[in-house]
């Protein structure tokens, strides 16, 4: 796998795993309108994932036949949904990262990434808007909703740091103009997240714990269950078409 492919796969894994998580909300959302909205976001992410995985290899082989250590998504996207507050807090953190990332990748020297990013940036902008609107309403809603979304945020917050980690792969791609440096994305992310949290009357969590490992295939316990559920049918019928 070339470095660009490895990187493309990371981004694709982020989208696929988060899309899978969001699709677990089907028929469970707080309102019918939100059922439609959450599945829209899930579909956007799934679509982006398919484009990215498809650029690397066979999308279904990559999605259904890869073992856990070969998945390179960030840990944040594989965390369980928790309640609606936690799901929206996680969405805020991810979308606030994806918007500047896709915006930068839209002018990547890699034509595949640039093409996917041009479309994805519009979708992520909407996801960010949606997650922000809910985080603000939950934070500045009732005492219960405030407590719940703060707890959700506190739970997912430590995992955000991993999104901005760098490693030799990222560094070499930054040098080639293929992607943006995490150090450039981080302040944009901070500004967005802090603005939303302030409007939501929520406290920016502080954490010295920075779980990591997703990019090198070391995942949380929850991820094994996600893969087991997603892959079992496909794996139970080797070689079958669907």
């Amino acid at each position: 796998m070339t470095p660009v492919q490895a990187y493309t796969l990371r981004l694709g894994d982020d989208c696929l795993v988060l899309g899978q998580r969001l699709s677990e909300w089907a028929a469970r959302a707080p309102t019918l309108e939100e059922d439609v909205a959450l599945l829209n976001i899930a579909l956007d992410l799934l679509g982006t994932a398919r484009s990215l995985l498809g650029a690397v290899g066979d999308e279904d082989a990559l999605a259904f036949l890869r073992a856990e250590p070969d998945w390179t998504n960030a840990l944040l996207v594989e965390l369980d949904n928790g309640d609606f507050g936690r799901t929206m807090a996680r969405q805020l953190l991810v979308s606030a990262y994806q918007v500047p990332l896709w915006a930068a990748l839209a002018s990547s020297t890699d034509p595949v990434l640039a093409g996917v990013a041009g479309k994805a940036v519009k979708e992520a902008t909407y996801h960010l808007d949606h997650a922000s609107a809910w985080v603000v309403r939950l934070g500045d809603g009732t005492a219960e909703s405030h407590a719940r979304v703060q707890a959700g945020l506190d739970g997912v917050w430590p995992y955000a740091a991993e999104l901005f980690e760098t490693d030799p792969l990222v560094e070499s791609l930054v040098q080639q103009g293929i992607t943006a440096a995490p150090a450039v994305l981080l302040p944009v992310w901070q500004q967005t997240v802090e603005r939303v949290l302030a409007e939501a009357t929520l406290t920016v969590p502080e954490s010295s714990w920075r779980p990591t490992g997703g990019r090198s295939g070391r995942h949380t316990e929850a991820f094994g269950y996600l893969l087991a559920e997603m892959q079992h049918l496909h794996r139970a019928h080797p070689g079958a078409s669907w």
Binding site: E33, V36, N40, D129, A133
Partner: protein, 89 residues
């Protein structure tokens, strides 16, 4: 809170009523409308209006409102005879 949703299906056309939805504020109402009513590229612009804010004519007033327009055929071009062979009229 109930909102009525109007969508402009493409530029050059008026907004048309497409249905209703629930939301507690205008911001969410507009976004819900986008998610619910334009999933298949049905729109280029959306209006949402609180259902309670619509002032509607009543069916009881129907006769007084709409019947008087019925006996004024001279408002329509078909009321007039156009001499045979003439165009641009």
């Amino acid at each position: 809170m109930l909102w009525e949703v109007f969508v402009r299906s493409r530029r050059g056309l008026s907004h048309t009523h497409v249905g209703s939805l629930h939301a507690d504020d205008a911001h969410l109402a507009l976004r819900n409308a986008r998610d619910v009513y334009t999933r298949r590229q049905e729109g280029t612009s959306i209006w949402v209006v609180p259902a309670a804010q619509i002032v509607a004519s009543s069916p009881d007033e129907k006769d007084a409102f709409f019947d008087p327009a019925g006996d004024k055929p001279y408002r329509h071009p078909t009321f007039y005879d156009v001499p045979e062979g003439l165009t641009h009229l």
